[in-house]
Amino acid sequence: MKILLKPNSINMIKNLENYYDGILLGVNNLAVNVPFTVSLEDLSHLIPYFKEKKKDIFIALNKNMHEEDLILLEQTMAFLESYQVTGICYYDIAVVSIKEEKRYQPPLVWAQEHLTTNYVTCNFWRQFGATFTLVSGEITVREILEIAKHTENQLLVPIFGYLPMFMSKRHLIKNYTEEFRLTTTNGIHFMKKQEKKYPIIDHECGTEVYSAEPLIGLREYLEFQNQQIAYGLIDSFLLEEDLMKQVLEIFKTVNSTNIEEKEMEIKALIPNGSPHFYHRETIYKVK
């Protein structure tokens, strides 16, 4: 299983290059739920760098696209066509439509977050060039393995990091501060409820909210490796580079004989980590 990193800076990309097999980067104004985004100019330097290092390159174009976004989207997909990246993550179906219309080569990653929950739909999108699937963070290990069993798609499975919970076009922090004439800084805030703090960011694309605890799927990573799942996704959002280095080192060196020791190590680094929905199902009918 390859380690795919969502970095939070250019420095992290370069400083931790020995710790990951692939990278997932978001493009300015077209990506959400990524720790930072880059320009096409940045990509023109980074992509050759990654290819030289033999890293897999995934690009996120996973924003909900409005009409005004389509020109930039088309330009970006044309750019990526010339660079032959490993995969393009999409949420909006405009990406699929444009790929089909222009017959672009790079494979797609079905990355509709909370909607990527079953194998029939994996196979539906495969027909349209989505040969990868970034599975939902809200399904169990058993469900993930069942998807793997019934699709030829290569799976990208979240194994570490804060999970996205919410995305809105509305600027919810800005709206609140404007309503009550308050001031605050830009950047990450937190919503607190019942002693839990949920990171919330209000930026040009809207408002994102994340889980209160980072996902830790170390033991599950071994299980995914055994089942030959293609990629484990590690997200560095809100985490310092030094900490990420230690986390990546743990994932790199964990095996079935040292798992208990590694679990204790990672718990010491991330005391509020959680397996989230790996082993618990949500309900939806209460009466």
């Binding site: 409005h66 009409e67 919410f166 809105s168 309503e179 800084t185 950047g187 805030h189 607190k192």
Partner: protein
């Protein structure tokens, strides 16, 4: 300008009949499984069949929501369910997960509409779904008037837009707050509306940012009544009212107002004038403020509802007419009323009228001063004829400000 379909929610058979009788051209409903309102009453297969037969006698339509995001284990049960819907003759299914599209096409001849849950917001996405055999797209609620126009100009497909009702704070499908905070799956019908909760908002240093009211995502409801003529000029196929879990009074009031307005615009587009009395009626039957929002390009703080969850419960609905014979109406009480109250009647195919209750009696014929018991049957003489399913409400004062 094409005349749009008025599409109303049907939480159960009673609400289905009310919606259609009060002027909806079509209704949408959910079965016991596979719909995004798992905790609504929902319909058994037999009830769906009865609803379809009821609707079809009036040449009206029934769409069934099959719009959850499926997990692997649900797929096996789905095929049988889709076949039954096909046999019953539902007019379309509303889906969000493409696995339902695949299975419906393989096993049935059902017409397929794409749910707002897929957040379709641009013509490229619409064009894709048209190629897959989808015949109607329910657009995401974040589209502006100009975006709708561009979509309709570029793709020849039926377009449905939300016109009235509750709004999600997020892009549809892109919220699992409910999953994380209450373990209830938002994308399989279990949403516990976390967006309406209050939170403390902290900045990067941990300092609380606090205004007069608590921080929340809660948005005001949608009401497109002020821009309905503009919507009709865009040639949108269907105007959708949200609210399968709303009361029969809400459904009747909202459908009635939108029916009247669509017909007024259609019959006299040049002389149509916005009716403030209609707006007042709509405001009173809701429990939250409602505004136009994204259609007009507005999604700022004026669209949020900071009211510490103090939503107002409506007490206007007083009774449901069962029968009318020999100038006497038989009415089922839905809220307290008494002799001397000024009330208003409205209903399918009638002009509203108001009157003062002068005398009334209970089911056994005994004189009654007050109808105080829930669903109590009372009788009294009304000043004009009524039909079954007409409703009685508090007379809305003309000169009082709107409720909210």
């Amino acid at each position: 300008m094409k005349k749009p379909e008025l599409l109303a929610p049907a939480g159960d058979l009673e609400r289905l009949k009310i919606a259609l009788l009060y002027g909806a051209d079509a209704v949408y409903l959910g079965g016991a499984l596979f719909g995004l309102r798992a905790n609504a009453t929902n319909f058994t297969i037999e009830e769906i069949e009865e609803g379809v037969q009821f609707a079809h006698q009036f040449h009206k339509k029934v769409y069934v929501t099959v719009n959850i995001v499926l997990h692997n284990k649900e797929i096996a049960h789905l095929i049988e369910y889709l076949k039954k819907l096909d046999q019953i003759g539902v007019d379309a299914i509303i889906i969000s997960d493409p696995s339902v599209l695949t299975l419906a096409r393989e096993h049935t001849k059902l017409e397929i509409h794409l749910s707002t849950q897929q957040s379709t917001l641009n013509h490229q996405a619409v064009a894709f779904w048209k190629k897959q055999g989808v015949t109607r797209i329910v657009l995401g609620r974040e589209v502006t008037k100009e975006e709708i126009q561009t979509i309709i100009e570029n793709v020849d497909i039926e377009i449905e837009c939300f016109t009235h009702g509750a709004m999600c704070a997020s892009y549809s499908g892109r919220c699992v707050l409910s999953n994380f905070l209450t373990e209830r799956d938002a994308n399989r019908g279990g949403c516990s509306q976390i967006c309406r909760w209050d939170f403390q908002l902290l900045d990067q240093t941990g300092e609380e940012i606090h205004g007069e009211k608590n921080f929340t995502f809660c948005s005001k409801d949608l009401s497109m009544l002020p821009v309905l003529k503009q919507m009709m000029e865009l040639d949108i196929t269907s105007f959708k009212i949200e609210g399968r879990m709303r009361s029969i009074y809400y459904i009747a009031s909202v459908v009635d107002i939108y029916r009247r307005t669509i017909d007024e615009i259609w019959n006299n587009p040049d002389s149509y004038a916005y009716n403030m009395a209609y707006e007042k009626t709509l405001r009173r039957c809701a429990n939250r403020d409602s505004v136009v929002q994204f259609f007009s390009g507005v999604f700022d703080h004026t669209c949020n509802y900071y009211n510490n969850r103090e939503e107002i419960s409506n007490q206007d609905f007083l009774g449901l007419v069962h029968t009318y014979e020999n100038e006497i109406a038989t009415i089922e009480q839905r809220n307290h009323f008494k002799i001397g109250d000024e009330v208003e009647f409205f209903g399918p195919g009638m002009e509203p009228f108001s009157m003062k209750i002068k005398e009334m009696e209970d089911e056994a014929g005994n004189p009654l001063e007050v109808a105080r018991h829930a669903q109590q049957i009372v009788r009294f003489k009304t000043e004009k004829p009524l039909k079954p399913f007409a409703m009685m409400r508090i007379k809305i004062p003309v000169d009082k400000p709107a409720n909210l």
